[in-house]
């Protein structure tokens, strides 16, 4: 299998080597198995040289009159300078990267974030407090800029990655020798990525998305991909006192070609395929009403217009013939690629080819470009590269009070061991118990579990426990997995109860745990590949939010009852039962009743004279006997 790593680096570096301008862009198309397509947009913008200055907000206001940004976005420059950001990495990603089928991530994963939004930056500051202050100020500005909830970045999700700091150590671009550089990172895993993030992204380009490859980018098509990621990387590069800001913007996405073709032909609704268009297996029963479906067709025809619904609108910059490049990475022998230039007066069509591994085509005419692709067997593509490590993470357990994480790593290589750094930042409300960390190893000789395995597989560990509401727990493990084996890490945590006001809107959705970052190292300890696990949804005990009202009602009821009885006791006069009887006899009501009773007695004795045997008994005792007999 060919190693495509250098080719990828050529794609990234190529434009900057050739072109002398401050702006380059390239679109790379790479067909993947099962009629999928990886499409990579890369834009590179450099600023003019300037002298790096430390900006102290409390002393002076930002003076950038001497800066001339040219192609570099005027909107972003002052934000970076006013908060002394020397390096910025911003990632917007959504979907699931199928590494089994699609292989390695584009750019070796260094441009792809985890689900949601990820921000990391290097801040120059005299001390940590100032660095944090700048970081929070910066994230708030960025939030408005990219229409994302980056303003929710606070202490409770901010981390200072250890390994990343170590690998950035050699970078020295201080404006003031007394200052230090701080690498700060935060992730918002539950942030949905949508068109409102794409628009500001395009606004940063000098073309504003109106010309060059950026003219293809349409939110409806881009976000209908199987996986997509946008990234913005700004770095400061200095030679002596002269520094420039370098900005790399990329959009990577995986397109389902068959779905795109269908959408173009049949419209957006997934209507059933008309009976005569069904592709059935002729070897099985096949009739007007029965069809055993075949898989996706392998002979396919598609063009950029099929995928994006638009055409490339000429080069990005008219005076730069090599500024806009299209790269096609595929099996040349089996794919016929045709370019179509739609000029105002004529249409030019020609076959695109190359004797190199990559087909490179410059967009240099003032015309609308379309590239159409035809193959008789779409399975014949450049072989995919197996990623150096496969990892997955899941939650275990079901209760509302505790749970566990299970992370499994698999080294697919048959002969090489793999070293990597596992970085995980967990929200403070999941209280991690590192003593519960267990390691299960599976290799060709069987399964092993035990505490003693830890020293064999975990080379180094860094752990910074969480502080409630102000710091996430931060775990970094340096692991080494031998060839053809897999390791499963499990650890337990407790779930804490949040305060009433700490629950977000839609609290019953659960809480996202940000993706873990895995950085694969080579033998010299350099980063060679980076990828993320998926984010997880943590269910915390969530109260019924009408509960406080029930509590209020209950409390009020009890208080009123208590008040009633105390008031009653305070105002009433305490008397004996005999006194009560005396008093009741004297009351008007009882007098009336006794008078009535007497009258009834008289009436009774008149109507029915007592029998002679009962002459001695009084009427009163008589009535008593009657009562008894009734019983």
């Amino acid at each position: 299998m060919l190693n495509w790593l250098p080719i990828w680096s050529i794609i990234v570096l190529l434009p900057s080597v050739i072109a002398g301008t401050y702006y380059n862009e390239s679109l790379s198309l790479k067909p993947l198995p099962r009629n999928k397509l990886l499409s990579t947009f890369a834009f590179q913008i450099d600023s003019l040289p300037f002298t790096l200055q430390y900006h102290n907000a409390s002393i002076d206001s930002l003076n950038d009159a001497n800066h001339h940004y040219t192609y570099f976005p005027r909107a972003l420059g002052p934000i970076l300078e006013s908060s002394n950001i020397r390096e910025l990495h911003l990632r917007f990603t959504q979907g699931w990267w199928d590494s089994e089928s699609w292989g390695k991530l584009p750019h070796d994963g260094f441009r792809s974030g985890g689900t949601g939004v990820e921000v990391s930056a290097i801040v120059e500051a005299p001390n940590l407090a100032v660095a944090k202050e700048n970081w929070f100020k910066f994230s708030k500005t960025l939030s408005g800029f990219f229409c994302a909830s980056i303003n929710f970045v606070d202490d409770s999700i901010t981390t200072f990655p250890k390994h990343a700091v170590d690998s950035h150590k050699e970078k020295k671009y201080f404006s003031d020798k007394a200052n230090k550089l701080y690498y700060i990172r935060a992730a918002l895993p539950s942030e949905p990525i949508c068109t409102e993030n794409l628009t500001p992204f395009l606004k940063l380009l000098p073309t504003r998305g109106k010309a060059g490859i950026a003219s293809l980018l349409d939110g409806h098509k881009l976000f209908d991909s199987l996986w997509h990621g946008m990234s913005i990387d700004v770095s400061t590069e200095c030679e002596g006192d002269n520094c420039i800001l370098k900005m790399d913007q990329t959009i990577d996405h995986v397109i389902d070609i068959i779905r795109s073709i269908r959408k173009k032909e049949e419209g957006g609704l997934p209507r059933p395929t008309p009976g005569d268009k069904l592709r059935c297996d002729p070897e099985k029963t096949f009739s007007v009403w029965q069809c055993f479906p075949l898989g996706d067709p392998t002979e396919i025809d598609w063009s950029l217009e099929t995928l994006y619904g638009r055409l490339i609108n000429g080069p990005a910059l008219m005076n730069d013939p090599k500024g806009t490049v299209l790269n096609i990475i595929t099996d040349r022998d089996n794919w016929r690629i045709t370019a179509k230039q739609d000029r105002q007066d004529s249409i030019v069509t020609y076959t695109v080819g190359s004797d190199k591994d990559i087909i490179t085509e410059y967009i240099n005419e003032q015309a609308k470009y379309d590239f159409s692709f035809h193959t008789s067997d779409s399975r014949l593509i450049v072989p995919i590269e197996t990623p150096p490590l496969i990892a997955s993470r899941s939650l275990t357990g079901y209760s509302q009070d505790k749970g566990g994480f299970r992370v499994s790593f698999k080294n697919p290589s048959l002969d090489k061991s793999v070293d990597f750094v596992y970085f995980e930042s967990l929200p403070w409300f999941s209280r991690l118990y590192l003593n519960t960390l267990t390691l299960k190893v599976h290799n060709s000789s069987g399964d092993f579990v035990g505490k003693d395995l830890e020293s064999t597989y975990i080379k180094n560990r860094y752990y910074r426990p969480a502080i409630d509401r102000s710091r996430p727990s931060h775990l970094e493990l340096l692991l080494s997995i031998p060839a053809n084996s897999s390791v499963v890490l499990t650890y337990q945590f407790d779930k804490s109860l949040l305060l009433y006001h700490e629950y977000p809107p839609d609290a019953n959705h659960g809480f996202s745990v940000e993706p873990a970052v895995i950085t694969v190292l080579d033998d010299n300890g350099n980063d060679i590949y980076e990828f993320r696990t998926t984010s997880l949804l943590l269910t915390l005990p969530t109260p019924d939010f009408s509960m406080p009202y029930n509590v209020i009602i209950m409390t009020c009821t009890i208080m009123s009852l208590m008040f009633g009885s105390v008031f009653n006791l305070l105002t009433k006069k305490v008397i004996t039962e005999d006194e009560l009887d005396q008093l009741t006899k004297q009351s008007k009501g009882s007098k009336l009743i006794s008078a009535l009773k007497e009258k009834i007695q008289k009436f009774k004795s008149k109507a029915k004279p007592p029998p002679p045997s009962d002459t001695k008994s009084t009427p009163q005792s008589n009535s008593k006997e009657e009562e008894n007999s009734e019983e």
Binding site: Q94, T115, R262, P272, Q290, C291
Partner: protein, 560 residues
């Protein structure tokens, strides 16, 4: 306050308390009767409610399902091939299905003999999933041909849509009881390939009904009294209504489908209570109970009849539209009821309305227990002095029951009749063992009855059906000591309240299911039966067979 004072003074003056004490056994019986009558009035107009969708996000049947027309051809195509697999072993079947799923482009994995595929949602954050489970054999022991074909066709159809924000897992399982439960457990503990937390699950059964079916049956009972959120059932039923399908719950005969009378509602209510109690115990599972306890809302759909007028794609549309509704959810199911009793597909009784029934039953046992002590004529002081002895006896009874509870699943005796006989061993010992004194005799009965009352109270919210049935079955125990009955009546009362005797009536396999339910399904009904019901029964049995009641009988007579 003043009113309460007046009343209490009046009661005191008239000497109502001793009279009431004498009436306690009757009051207790009346309470038990009122408990049952409470249930009987529930299906009356005005006591139940109509179902409604509580969670706005669900929006059932708002989107047109396109699982129709040529998709039917595909279902037929798959079904013929599935039919050919009937004679094959599970391994071969799995291999064939797996190759089809791969052709569709899905990721597959195994857990023991269970094959499952995952479709990762193109939209959404890959943290939540929905499950479609299909057993190879239906709960009626039929080859689940239609459902397997539908599941594959639906998987293929789902990949065509880009609207999914929750992952879809399709599980092909040998049997919908233990293997499915094992898969759900493994998903949350040890599986390599997972797709986030499962929000909802549908178990699908469509035997060899062919292209057409008459109506669908819905099963929803979970383990240990758990039920899926009512919103999920309402969603399905509303979708079914819009499809023009008839739904049957609790095995209502098809002739009574459209009727919604007092008696059909009562029948559904009673059968629902029994079904909920027996879930996880019956030898055949419905499938949906396998998801209980993991915060997963699940139900089982079964196609019934072969004549029509409905076709197999309509059955598929039920699943498709339900998934689309669940897919809309942002929050977990939490808006609607988790505790309810269905009276028909459109009517239900919520927990607040039916709970008093079990409360009345618990109070009935408490009164009965009080009555036993107060009518005995023994001064209360002697009960207090004998309390330690009483407790020792009761704890040792519990100890015996605990040993039985743990030992029986291991021994796996499948003879509950034998246990009934063993239960009456105290009868044989009667002449050899020293008689218990009168305080202990009355005390033990009272304590056992009070224990049942406590058990009902503890269970009534979590597992209403079990609490209520437990109360009903134990009711004969309250007749034993107030006033003491002749030997034969006591024996009859003891027999008809013996747990093993009642289980024997339900059937031998129910007993086996009950004993193995904890191990297989994590259903704790077995422990309630043996540690709660049987221990209380044993307490009453020992006291009434070996106890001494003679003196008290005279005393009671004298008092009268």
């Amino acid at each position: 306050m003043a009113l309460a004072e007046t009343i209490s003074r009046k009661i005191h003056k008239l000497g109502l308390i001793p009279k009431l004490i004498k009436l306690l056994p009757i009051v207790s019986l009346l309470l038990a009767i009122s408990s049952v009558s409470w249930l009987l009035i529930l299906p009356l107009e005005g006591n139940y409610r109509r179902t409604y969708i509580s969670e706005n996000a669900l929006m059932p049947s708002q989107a047109t399902s396109f699982f129709r027309e040529s998709e039917w051809n595909i279902v037929r195509g798959y079904r013929e091939e599935v039919g050919k697999l009937e004679a094959e072993s599970i391994e071969v079947r799995n291999q064939v299905i797996e190759s089809w799923l791969h052709e569709i482009g899905l990721i597959t994995a195994y857990h023991e003999n269970t094959l499952y595929s995952i479709m990762h949602a193109p939209r959404g954050d890959d943290t939540e999933a929905m499950v479609l489970a299909v057993p190879w054999i239906t709960s009626d022991d039929e080859y689940n041909e239609g459902a397997i074909a539908l599941a594959v066709a639906l998987s293929r159809y789902f990949t065509r849509l880009s609207i999914w924000s929750k992952n879809i897992i399709v599980v092909f399982v040998e049997d919908n009881k233990v293997p499915l439960r094992k898969w759900v457990e493994a998903y949350h503990t040890s599986l390599e390939e997972t797709a986030g937390s499962i929000e909802a699950a549908i178990v699908m059964e469509y035997g060899k009904n062919g292209d057409y079916f008459d109506y669908y049956e819905l099963n929803y009972e979970g383990l240990n009294g758990q039920l899926p959120n009512l919103d999920l059932l309402n969603t399905l039923n509303l979708i079914g209504y819009h499809e023009g399908l008839h739904c049957v719950i609790q095995g209502t005969p098809s002739t009574e489908l459209i009727k919604n009378t007092y008696f059909t509602r009562l029948r559904t209510l009673v059968r629902g209570i029994i079904a909920l109690t027996l879930t996880g115990i019956k030898p055949k599972g419905q499938g949906c109970e396998a998801f209980s306890g993991w915060q997963i809302q699940a139900f089982t759909l079964k196609a019934k009849g072969t004549t029509g007028p409905h076709d197999i794609t309509q059955f598929g549309r039920l699943v498709d539209s339900t998934f689309r509704s669940v897919n809309n959810l942002l929050e977990k199911f939490h808006q609607s009821f988790f505790f309810y009793l269905m009276l028909s597909t459109k009517n239900f009784v919520s927990i607040g309305t039916y709970l008093p029934s079990a409360v009345l039953m618990a109070v009935s046992f408490t009164f009965s227990s009080l009555g036993t002590i107060l009518i005995s004529g023994i001064p209360l002081n002697s009960f207090i002095t004998e309390s330690s002895k009483l407790l020792i006896i009761f704890v040792s009874i519990e100890g015996i029951c605990l040993i039985l509870a743990l030992a029986l699943p291991l021994i796996k005796i499948d003879l509950s009749i034998g246990l009934v006989v063993i239960s009456f061993l105290p009868l044989l010992l009667k002449n050899y063992v020293k008689k218990l004194n009168k305080t202990i005799s009355f005390g033990l009965i009272a304590l056992s009855l009070f224990f049942i009352s406590l058990l009902i109270v503890a269970l009534l919210i979590v597992h209403f059906s079990l609490a209520l049935l437990l109360g009903l079955f134990c009711l004969p125990l309250t007749f034993i000591a107030q006033p003491p009955k002749p030997q034969i009546k006591t024996l009859i009362n003891l027999l008809i309240s013996n747990p093993f005797f009642i289980i024997a009536i339900f059937g031998q396999d129910v007993f086996v299911g009950l004993v193995t339910s904890w191990h297989d399904m994590q259903c704790w009904t077995w422990f309630v039966v043996i540690l709660g019901w049987y221990s209380a029964w044993l307490g009453v049995a020992i006291a009434s067979l070996m106890g001494d009641f003679t003196v008290e009988v005279d005393k009671v007579k004298k008092d009268q």
